[in-house]
């Protein structure tokens, strides 16, 4: 085999044999992104362009009117928009940071501590990967009512903190940290807290970033808690408020709905782009054995 060129996976440079893959990927990616491009255009269209027939895809005279309307309407209804935004910021910030911390310490215990029920408990968590939150909407609702969490920030935050997928991924990652380093630190007199914060957590940065992203996507987009658990309008979140535009059947709302979708989507995209190499790093340890 004279022309053997080693593995063809993960090539370092372009070769003619790759053209067929590009021929598939370019149109497909464009198709996948089309709705995203569409909503960006739609969000900046003035009224007359939104109702033009036949509809035009690209915005011709971009305007921020739709965004102004969104902000204006909330003011008129009594609850200022800033209130929803602040709620969302507080809820998202607390949920993401606590979830990262909670996951990291639990994963550390599962990976580096020996205790009797370890394998068994981890298997329960692994089974919970299959958990579909929506299936237990009823009992969750009862739990929230009976613990007095309804109508508080807690109802937004607490149900989302324990993330089986996150724990699973981070534990696989902590497994990569060699025990010898921890032993050496302990001999040097480092206590449990120091070992965790100074030795383990810095080494599992990519996995923690991934948990942060996954958690962000869930909490930022969540509307269930505002729909079901929180009745007080002043405690509801931005996602909920924007969702009222999305579900409105009134065609006059189309531009505002697009602007709302745009505002919801962009933070997800930006954060993912910023952290994507860490996510990929984490995912290479994601296998279930």
């Amino acid at each position: 085999m004279a022309n053997f060129f080693g593995s063809r996976s993960n090539p370092k440079k372009f070769a003619a044999s790759q053209i067929k893959f590009y021929a598939l990927l370019i149109p497909l990616s464009l198709f996948m992104l089309l709705p995203v491009v569409f909503i960006i255009n739609q969000a900046f269209k003035p009224m007359d362009e939104l109702y033009r027939f036949p509809p035009t895809f690209i915005v011709q005279r971009p305007t921020t009117l739709n965004f102004q309307y969104i902000f204006g309407i909330a003011d008129a209804s009594g609850v200022p928009l800033i209130r929803y935004l602040v709620n969302s910021f507080i809820v998202t910030a607390i949920t993401v940071t606590s979830s990262i911390f909670l996951t990291a310490m639990t994963a550390y215990a599962f990976s580096k501590k020996k205790f009797r029920a370890r394998a068994w408990l981890f298997r329960i968590n692994q089974a919970a990967l299959m958990f579909v939150p929506i299936a237990v909407a009823v009992p969750r609702y009862l739990v929230i009512i009976n613990t007095g969490m309804e109508n508080t920030y807690w109802a937004h935050i607490l149900p989302l903190l324990a993330m089986p997928v996150g724990l699973f991924l981070v534990k696989q990652f902590v497994d990569q940290v060699p025990d010898e380093i921890l032993e050496a630190a302990r001999i040097d007199g480092a206590g449990e807290i120091a070992v965790m914060f100074r030795i383990v957590f810095p080494q599992i940065g990519p996995a923690l970033a991934t948990v942060g992203i996954l958690c962000f996507q869930v909490v930022w987009n969540a509307v269930e808690s505002s729909n079901i658990y929180v009745i007080d309008e002043t405690l509801k979140t931005f996602a909920f408020y924007l969702n009222t535009f999305a579900v409105d059947q009134n065609p006059a709302m189309a531009g505002m709905a697009a602007a709302a979708g745009f505002i919801m989507f962009m933070p997800n995209l930006i954060i993912f782009i910023a952290l994507q190499s860490r996510v990929m790093n984490t995912m290479s340890h994601s296998g279930i054995k």
Binding site: N10, L24, L25
Partner: protein, 306 residues
């Protein structure tokens, strides 16, 4: 070993037990409160009649019997819809994720990152975003993009009510769900394929495999099993978590003539519109059972036998 060192050792291990306890306690508490206990409660409530106002009243398997014998909507619409949706979006989206992850692994890093982002982006779109975009695209009046296109080329005479027409709704839901199905399982499989040691491929070529197809069958899939299992579980869960899109697209629950009604919408309908919590809980148990069956299948395909 002297007596004192033994004592010190046992005290040390007692301290360690305490540490483990405190490390696990917060997660364990939240996990129990919002995942384990609700699942157990679902099973308990499913055996009762419960309307929120009065205390639950034990009714044995009546809810399950009703589900299987009297709930006509469940049999005529929910089951067929859920099966069709779950099969196409779960395994369908999964196979698509694997193939695309593999194709991406066959090109260089730079363009690969961009394509991966493009394919992954839709899965980040939350419910708000999904309903806004696809409702405008499939909108039933002439400002809907699909209708405008079809009208322009004279393929139809008057706009089609895609989202209100039972014949279309479920298919559109499946299409939209597939569009957003390249999620974390897809990333996991991509990272897994890129991690396979290149020397294995070289060795396989020396042993006589000849093309990329054989690479996939003899090297990639066997070595990727752990990631493929993870991806499979994520695909199944993702399909069911996305189940509300029928309501989001049509703007109503129940969906028009139950055409886009999945078991998830049925649960919501009974739980929060009719307040028949016992029956809703029985439906939840059925749903968890379905997800469990699918996962079981994935484990038997890709899991390592122990």
């Amino acid at each position: 070993m002297t007596k004192t060192s033994k004592l010190r050792k046992s005290r040390e291990s007692l301290k360690d037990t305490f540490r483990v306890f405190w490390l696990l306690f917060p997660y364990g508490l939240l996990f129990s409160t919002f995942i384990a206990i609700p699942v157990a409660m679902s099973i308990g409530l499913s055996l009762t009649y419960f309307n929120v106002v009065q205390a639950p009243e034990f009714s044995g398997f009546r809810n399950y019997i009703t589900m299987l014998t009297q709930d006509e909507v469940f049999f005529r619409h929910i089951i067929p819809n859920t099966v069709k949706y779950a099969l196409l979006v779960g395994p369908g989206g999964y196979i698509l994720s694997f193939l695309l992850a593999w194709v991406l692994s066959q090109i260089q890093k730079g363009p690969r990152t961009i394509f991966a982002l493009a394919l992954y982006a839709p899965s980040m779109a939350g419910g708000v975003f999904i309903s806004v975009i696809w409702r405008t695209i499939f909108s039933g009046n002439q400002s809907g993009y699909i209708n405008a296109l079809l009208l322009r080329y004279d393929l139809i005479e008057s706009p089609i009510q895609f989202l209100l027409e039972p014949a279309y709704l479920l298919n559109i839901m499946i299409f939209v769900a597939l569009w957003s199905s390249m999620g974390i399982g897809f990333l996991a499989m991509l990272a897994g394929i890129l991690n396979i040691n290149e020397e294995l491929y070289e060795a396989a070529y020396i042993d006589g495999i000849q093309n990329r197809f054989q690479e996939i069958i003899y090297i990639t899939i066997p070595l990727l099993k752990p990631q493929m299992l993870f991806g499979a579980v994520m695909a199944i869960v993702g399909a069911f978590n996305n189940g509300m899109i029928g309501v989001a697209l049509s703007g109503m629950n129940p969906t028009p003539q139950y055409s886009g009604q999945l078991i998830i919408n049925h649960i919501e309908d009974y739980a929060f519109q009719r307040y028949e919590m016992g029956y809703a809980a029985a439906l939840s148990v059925a749903l968890l059972g379905i997800v469990w069956l699918f996962s079981k299948l994935a484990y038997s395909l890709f899991g390592e036998r122990d």
